[in-house]
Subunit: 641 residues, 2 copies
């Protein structure tokens, strides 16, 4: 299979339309509530004003060195949104921001607000710490999305000029800087730019950044010496930046988790497009390091707030979980690219897990507030007792309207606006259905085309109806059979098909002479499951997590009262699910009988007798929907016995 | 009962002699190993040199503002040690330090190294943050101990002059500073000075410091304004310093835990000596706040490293437990004073728990290394993955030879050298036996005297033999019946006595016409007990802690392999104790059958099936003895089911 047969996800934006259901509601809320609010935040915090280049030393609102990326991600989100939903007012706001951005561009193509007004003359002097290439990457992604969503070329042309200039700056040629970004992002962006423009030089530059990373002699040593830096770098040095070794030699996913997933998304892109077996192998190796040993049951990654980073295998504390929303988004990006590299259902399983249980929790149901860190265990009593200096705006037990470091909110927005790209993937005439959600999709391939209508109440209901509405040629329809599903059932036009007979790498591959109107019925039974962590994940020992279908559940004080750690779900207790259309935007609740431990009345802190047990009804809600009622405790891993 | 009938603990130093057993061994090791090593540390770190006052700006080893307290605590320890064990070489070293200290004293009596050479002219300018009165307190304690241990008055006279001067500086008189120490300590020291000299003015000054604390108008506001400080104080302001309200109005034990226990020791002293019912009530109220809601099962207190402080009720994390060794020592000080205020066995229960399980763990069996923080859950894998900036010398999974802030090592030394003072207490003709340990003791009271020989293998064996070796008058011998003991048995000269018939406030009160040679036999059965925390202590839910007699146990990797959280001790599993003279200096081990959870072989991080269980033999060792073999994991709260 050649990479040219893989359809770029960006091109599916308009070919797949969400029609209703949970993901459509997320996308709608993003459009109606999140995008306008984020524009206001960008404006009110001085970010938009910074593009006027009027800032002078002594003025307030000194532009931060990665503010450009905030505007860029918002523009990217607007571009995606406009691809499906016309909104002249929003488009006018975005056009004005793009006009200002264009004016920031220097004669030679350089475009960076911070280095233009705050530290003029110092561009590229600190590629390790400062975020010029990171901001460039986000601006490129924004430009590509805006072009794809609106057909307008202005932003794209600006960024091509900038990318052309960057290509002259970096490399091993005479007078070039043999460096690469401290915060990865531009790699995957250059691939998108290559795909949008067909210009191979952008792919070459992406490949250079990927290949040069971590090689000796290490340019950053030269750079640090030139900056007079002699201190020991924080966070363990170059592992933090995934630059401790060439990527093809790295064995574990390390360092800042957002950087790691952005980098690996670009690496996987390059592996596919350059047919690079070593990079493909590295992608898979580091993927398994992440998924098999360093991922929360939510799909969250990067367990430590210190460096927003991966720590060590199985180190996944729940109450101090960082699990940054951006990192989960990065994991979704990477998973989508792994599917293009090698269409295996296991990548889509992780993509789905991350999407529902690590990205969606990052935004409130009304689209107006955000989690940066996503804890799995919030104890209100502990939080109430914290001192102000112990609380960072990024680590809060309640969603916040914005952050000093505002990476997450516009990141959520761009993913929500582009969910269309994640539902399907395509290789040649095989259309892979990765996510089940009501939608219409149309694909063209060599020798034919197919239009698919998907109807389902997934993730709440097990039944999926996929109608082949129009068809020509002989497409293969590949239906993902989720790893969590034990007894999938399948029929076409009422005729049962044995799933095991058509299953390959996690997909049921359906090939036949399709006729318009063919109805595929897929049933993915979703009993309530108790999950257990490997014993090495010591924080979860003695506990169970509740999942139904792709949705992870939690206990919330709103339903169960405070003191969630005193609740026990015994092994044998039956759990049942019921859909409640009026709660939390419509969710399936899970209920079952459990116990609440109570202390004997004598007030002793420690006593020889086990605590008393009082029978209680336990109510679990989807983890993504927690924190949308009165502030209170929440718990994913519940004691069992 | 009048306070004049209470015998000051300091006066028991020479009246009680430890003869053998665990506590004697601790005291011996302290004398032979700890005291010499600590002298070398004081010397090698520049502390002793600082007393020469030769430091000038630009020199290395700038004297720290509480270095004086390190020498002071070491001198105090030496004083106690010399009371029982002659050591001319050690005494000569101490005399030389005292000579230097005497030379630091200024004409007016002031004595502080830091303010003499580092910030001359600024004395008493920052009573809230700087530690002048704290250092003075430790120096006074040192002087009293050295006087009591050696009979030498030089240090005592120096400190009387300093105390006299301090009494002129502080108060509400014309030109006086209406302040009190930010770090309490001098209160209890002034009480000791009063008792050693009979000078009431020292007691009055202690009472002033106790009474003034937290009153409005708050002098610290004036002081902070004079210093130009406008920032929000860290750690929540004056609660950190126990100065948020007058002591008699405080409801919960708050703030820095060492300060809190030192303060409350002084408060309890003043309550007793001034017969102050309000202060006595406050002592009991804050004691219960500490013991009933804010104390680890070890007796450790102050759960947060951020401010080394108490946090909120039931907030007792195990893996990040601070539980500073000094704070546990402070709790022992306070408990001893509560016993004098009101002789109730519950105070001795806590004193014993803190001593064995929160103070003894602070020093290695060879007396050469120390814990500052005392965690209850050390996971080697987590520690191995930490970055250098995440590790502070005070929070380490292995004992350290010294610390930048070196409060704990000499604090351990002074308590170990003075254990004699904790075994008994006396009110009039009632002699309370608080700790069971082989010892000889002699008490005089109005109308008589008594000499008691105690023979026992406690805490490993349940049998205690107390011989009334000499007696005149009619003493009451009060034997503590520990709260953990369910079925105590008692006899005199072989004749059984029903404990419940003589039990009052946790002591069996034995009054009779004693005859020399009378033998009291006390049996305190110590089956292995499983302890459970109140459900509010959420970190301990689903877990049990193992205790036998006064000794708390833990699992160590040395006996059980790594991965201690994967071990389970089922409810029904029998546990048995056996003494091993060759292990860890001689300890009772506890063993029983348990399980090790193992993951299924498929490598999945989370799976629907509960982990497999493999039967294993679990071995528990005393918590105080952990960390004396190869570095590895340790766990107090073990999973149960």
């Amino acid at each position: 299979m050649k990479h040219s047969e893989v359809q770029a996800p960006e091109t599916m934006l308009q070919q797949v339309k969400l029609t209703c259901g949970l993901l459509k509601r997320v996308q709608d809320t993003n459009r109606t509530n999140t995008l306008p609010i984020e524009y206001e935040q960008l404006r009110d915090t001085g970010r938009l004003e910074s593009l006027k280049l009027g800032w002078k030393p002594g003025d307030p609102n000194r532009p931060h060195h990665f503010w450009d990326s905030d505007e860029a991600k918002w523009l990217e989100a607007v571009g995606y949104s406009l691809a499906n939903y016309s909104d002249p007012e929003l488009e006018a706001l975005a056009d004005a921001v793009i006009d200002d951005l264009a004016d920031v561009q220097q004669e030679d193509g350089y475009l960076n607000t911070y280095y233009t007004v705050v530290e003029p003359g110092k561009r590229w002097s600190n590629t390790r710490i400062m975020h010029e290439l990171y901001c460039a990457g986000h601006l490129i992604e924004g430009a590509v999305a805006y072009y794809q969503g609106t057909g307008k070329r202005k932003f794209l042309d600006v960024m091509c000029r900038y990318a052309d200039y960057i290509a002259t700056v970096f490399g091993h040629g005479e007078g070039q800087i043999p460096s690469y970004p401290g915060h990865e992002e531009i790699e995957l962006a250059l691939v998108k730019l290559y795909r949008a423009t067909g210009e191979e030089k952008y792919l070459d530059l992406a490949e250079y950044f990927v290949d040069e990373r971590g090689r000796q002699p290490h340019y950053w040593d030269v750079e640090r010496a030139a900056l007079g830096e002699t201190d020991t770098p924080r966070w363990g040095g170059s592992e933090y930046f995934q630059a401790h070794a060439p990527i093809v030699e790295q064995t574990d996913i390390e360092g800042h988790s957002v950087r790691a997933t952005y980098l690996m998304s670009g690496v996987t892109d390059v592996a596919l497009l350059q047919d690079d077996a070593e990079l493909a192998e590295a992608s898979k190796r580091l993927w398994h390091s992440m998924v098999d040993r360093r991922m929360y049951v939510t799909g969250g990654i990067g367990s430590s707030a210190n460096g927003e980073r991966f720590t060590s295998d199985y180190d996944l504390p729940n109450d101090t979980a960082y699990a940054e929303t951006c990192a989960a988004i990065g994991a979704v990006f990477w998973a989508r690219r792994m599917l293009d590299l090698d269409p295996r259902g296991e990548y889509a399983d992780v993509m789905e897990r991350c999407l529902y249980n690590a990205v969606l929790p990052g935004v409130s149901l009304d689209g107006k507030d955000f989690f940066y860190a996503n804890m799995l265990d919030v104890n209100k009593a502990v939080w109430d007792a914290k001192r102000p200096e112990e609380c960072h705006d990024s680590e809060q037990p309640q969603r916040q309207p914005w952050f000093g470091c505002a990476c997450c909110p516009p990141n959520v927005a761009r993913l929500a606006a582009s969910l269309n790209m994640y539902v399907y993937s395509r290789r040649g005439s095989t259309v892979y259905c990765n996510l089940y959600t009501p939608s219409e999709a149309e694909f063209r391939f060599e020798g034919g085309s197919v239009r698919l209508l998907q109807e389902t109440d997934y993730p709440w209901d097990e039944r999926i109806h996929l109608t082949v509405a129009e068809v020509s040629g002989s497409p293969t329809v590949a239906l993902r059979i989720p790893g969590w599903c034990r007894k999938p059932a399948l029929s076409i036009n009422g005729e049962n098909i044995k799933v095991s007979a058509v299953l390959a790498n996690g997909y049921a591959l359906l090939t036949r002479e399709w006729v318009a109107g063919d109805l595929i019925e897929l049933t993915l039974p979703m009993p309530v499951e108790r999950l257990y962590a490997r014993p090495e994940v010591w924080m979860d020992n003695g506990c169970t997590a509740i999942q139904r279908g792709p949705i992870l559940y939690c206990l919330e004080a709103a339903d169960n009262g405070e003191g969630l750690h005193a609740l026990v779900l015994p092994e044998g207790s039956a759990l049942s699910a019921s859909y409640d259309a009026d709660l939390l935007g419509g969710v399936a609740l899970i209920t079952g009988k459990g116990w609440r431990k109570t202390a004997p009345g004598n007030g002793t802190l420690y006593a020889p007798g086990a605590p008393n047990r009082q029978p209680v009804e336990l109510t679990f809600v989807p983890y993504y929907a927690w924190g949308n009622r009165a502030p209170g405790s929440m718990l994913v891993w519940v004691h069992t016995c």
